[in-house]
């Protein structure tokens, strides 16, 4: 019928993953890097959901719920750590002179 072919979803998620990786490698700001990681996580999530379309057990959707939860946990803890790094070094750039990561 009018269903979207599976390959389209996979191409979009491949592009999202590589753009997320590019952001992670390109940017110095830690919050920027975190946003890139989040983009890669969502690309994987889109794959899970696109494949579970044809699964009558819908395991992919259930798994993507847990991926969402883990992503949020990662985000909160990472932002708290970035906040402490900012308090300590007054700078959140990776590879900056002051912080020397």
């Amino acid at each position: 019928m009018n269903d979207i072919p599976l390959g389209y979803f996979l191409i979009v998620s491949a592009l999202l993953f590589s753009v997320g990786l590019g952001i992670m490698l390109l940017k110095r700001n830690m919050i920027f890097v975190l946003m890139g990681i989040e983009l890669m996580l969502n690309a994987a999530n889109l794959n899970l959901i696109a494949f579970s379309r044809q699964d009558d057990q819908m395991q992919g959707i259930v798994f993507s719920v847990f991926v969402l939860v883990i992503g949020v946990c990662e985000m909160t803890v990472a932002l708290a750590i970035i906040l402490q790094i900012y308090r300590h070094f007054k700078n959140i750039d990776l590879g900056a002179e002051k912080s020397r990561f």
Partner: protein, 173 residues
Amino acid sequence: MNPMIASFLILAGLTCASALAMAWTKNLLHAALAMFLCMLGLAGLYVMAYADVMAVAHLLIYVGGVLILILFGIMLTHTPRTDPYDVSNDLWTKQSGRFWALSISLSIFLGLLWILNRSMASFGMLSGEIQRSSKLTYLGLALLTEYSFAFELAGIFLLIALVGATYIAKHHE
């Protein structure tokens, strides 16, 4: 072109364009705005994949929660400007060398496309019928019966992460 494909192309274009804008811009706040658009497009793509529950959950969590968290992070880690009368936007961020980032991500994208192109024939062997109905009832039942242990574990994990994050973010004198 039928409306399903057309709306998919619009949503996919929104998602990909805002992701590329995130990579392009150097302004942290513009990147947060682009991430908002990207998450909206992704939620639309979930609807196109007949996963309505995940679309709503994704909107609630990412646009309502994570993005606000990122904005607070941007505000709290904002380096104060030296000249108080300078009203220009100073959220510019530094970048590493463009060459390696561009070449690595482009080669990974092309490699993924190559793999997808080679395995496209085997996707036709996925035998299951596409489920077009709403997944809400099934997902609720599955989370509370078959996956109840993992569900409770995820709840405890969220609690631990939130308590840990507030403890880490506290002022330690």
